[in-house]
């Protein structure tokens, strides 16, 4: 066994057993030999799981209860065999999700607090060239709940499945009937599964199983989900951004906010200069007082938090705390460092109503229904995802704009920018008219001038 670490890959592709709750997708797994005959499994590429599951890029899981045999058979070639006890049987590998790094060296299964239990298929030996990759399916069980319309639950025991998509469809078809729950009429009805509609995970997810964005399994009434105040308008048209360190996304920051009472919030903001960022007033003024602290992360994706900065000075529209009007919901953060030198910053602008109505826009931020957030006081417990949605404005008013672009809690303060020029014209507030319109504070000439006057931008 060579001590030097070799990037290799393992794993066969079939999911052969285990309870499935939530979802899974195709991910590329690479393994790196570490000390003590253990393999650090690096999930490097979430292909479709990102829609559903907290399988993030660059996350590392450490399998501690597996027997790992890695043998270098020839130069640049490593045979890796990973088996767990009872290879032929269904077995759960309990892997810490949030603190995978901490369990390296631990013996046996260890599930830490705040962890998700992930069910991995027992694996078989694969012989690969160094650097070669292999796809396999990963199922996820636990509390990292799926927030998409899909909730799949069923026993997965068809060993003939050869692809994740096939497995996904199989799970849908064999688990149980689906029930559609109509939030308005409060009626439940069985719906017929059309396999062709579920030919792929992406397609099924994007379309929404019943075309209305809500479908549930028998036994899962779905009524709880109807309590969601319709931040998603119609079907969910958000798409994930993984190229978070490219333009125009890099200057968009994830805000981890702590208020005066040590409650935590997630929000979004964006750089407008080297060390100033714009956000919503309610991201810097919580409840009845200014935020106690705000950590900002640019280029954050999964548990890779990118460039970090801390808020040094906060400012907000003084009338917002009293009026709570969308038009006044803007604030700024002066940072204690200059992340803009690395990440760049967004251009902001104001224009006429006519021009505003004519253009297409994108709202982009960190929605709370994606990723995995925790009220723990450190960022190490957060797993974040950037998402965006695009469309026209549905209303243009003197101080604010409305739109049907889908957003969720966590996107307060996100930039609403021209999809062609990337110039920001509004700051996302939230829901204006549930089920019909979201809205944001418009960048007016007055606000623009004010920001220049205080030196926030040039």
């Amino acid at each position: 066994m060579r001590k030097r670490k070799l990037a290799v890959v393992l794993l066969s592709g079939m999911l052969v057993g285990g309870m499935l709750r939530g979802t899974y997708g195709t991910i590329t797994v690479s393994a790196m030999e570490s000390e003590n005959h253990q393999i650090d499994v690096n999930l490097t590429e979430a292909v479709s799981a990102d829609v559903h599951a907290p399988v993030m890029e660059d996350e590392v899981y450490t399998i501690t209860d597996a027997t790992v045999v890695a043998e270098q058979t020839e130069e640049n070639r490593l045979n890796v065999t990973v088996t767990n006890e009872g290879f032929a049987t269904i077995k759960e590998w309990s892997i810490s999700y949030e603190a995978a790094y901490d369990i390296i060296g631990a013996e046996g299964v260890e599930v830490l607090d705040n962890s998700d239990v992930k069910t991995l298929a027992p694996t078989q030996a694969v012989s690969l060239e160094a650097g070669e990759s292999y796809e396999f399916c990963l199922s996820i069980a636990g509390t990292a709940e799926v927030t998409s319309p899909y909730r799949v639950s069923g026993v997965f025991d068809d060993q003939s499945l050869t692809s994740c998509d096939e497995a996904y469809v199989d799970a849908l078809l064999t688990s149980s009937d689906f029930v559609e729950y109509d939030c308005e009429t409060q009626e439940e009805r069985l719906i017929t599964v059309n396999p062709e509609d579920l030919a792929s995970v992406d397609e099924a997810t994007t379309r929404g199983y019943n075309g209305k964005g809500r479908s549930f399994l028998v036994g899962d009434t779905g009524k709880d989900d109807c309590a969601n105040p319709n931040m998603i308008i119609g079907s969910d048209n958000r798409t994930r951004v993984t190229a978070v360190k490219s333009s125009p996304y890099y200057p968009i920051g994830f805000l981890y906010i702590t208020d005066a009472k040590n409650n935590h919030y997630v929000g979004t903001g964006f750089l407008i200069s080297e060390n100033y960022m714009l956000t919503a007033a309610h991201c810097v003024y919580m409840d009845t007082s200014a935020a106690k602290s705000i950590q900002v992360f640019f280029g954050a994706n999964g548990t890779s938090y990118g460039v970090k900065a801390d808020a040094k000075t906060l400012g907000w529209c003084s009338s917002y705390p009293k009026t709570k009007s969308i038009a006044n919901d803007w604030g700024y953060i002066k940072l204690n460092s200059t992340p803009g030198k690395t990440c760049g910053w967004a251009s902001i602008g104001y224009t006429t109503d006519k021009n505003m109505k004519a253009a297409s826009y994108t709202v982009c931020g960190y929605p709370g229904d994606k990723g995995s957030y925790s009220s723990a006081s450190t960022m190490g417990h957060q797993s974040v995802q950037m998402w965006k949605a695009s469309g026209k404005l549905s209303g243009v008013y003197s101080g604010y704009v409305t739109y049907a672009m889908d957003t969720m809690g966590g996107q307060s303060g996100a930039p609403v920018y021209n999809s062609s020029t990337n110039t920001v014209y509004a700051i996302h507030h939230g829901v204006d008219d549930p089920g019909r319109a979201n809205g944001g504070a418009r960048i007016t000439k007055g606000l623009y001038t004010h920001l220049i006057d205080i030196g926030a931008c040039k």
Partner: protein
């Protein structure tokens, strides 16, 4: 004399219009109210607000931030004459609200009309 009568009538008319006008506005507001439902995760009497989860399973998950803060205002109506001290973690509440929803996570509604505890 007739001038005083006219002024008096005008005052009465304005007063009546005002009363009915306010009632009309209130009715309109209630008609435009929306509702959300969820399980109470925490109650902050000092800050006069509650935090709810849409998913019952997350109510007792101490690491979960919660889904939406519900401010309890003076004008907020409670079912059966209850108040914020009647609300406890785990209660299922139906919240009628107007205004907007601030989309931090957890989010927060800006104006609570009524809270019904089930």
């Amino acid at each position: 004399m007739s001038k005083q009568i006219v002024i008096g009538i005008a005052i009465v008319v304005v007063a009546i219009a005002g009363v009915f006008g306010i009632r009309y506005v209130r009715d309109q507001r209630n008609q435009n109210a929306f509702s959300m439902e969820g399980y109470v995760k925490s109650v902050d009497v000092e800050s006069q607000r509650i935090l709810i989860c849409y998913d019952q399973e997350l109510v007792n998950d101490e690491t979960y931030m919660g889904d939406c803060y519900i401010p309890v205002e003076k004008k907020t109506k409670f079912s059966d004459g209850k108040d914020i001290t009647s609300i406890h973690p785990g209660d299922y509440v139906i919240v009628e609200y107007t205004g907007t929803i601030q989309e931090t996570f957890p989010s927060e509604i800006t104006e609570t009309v009524s809270i019904t505890i089930e």
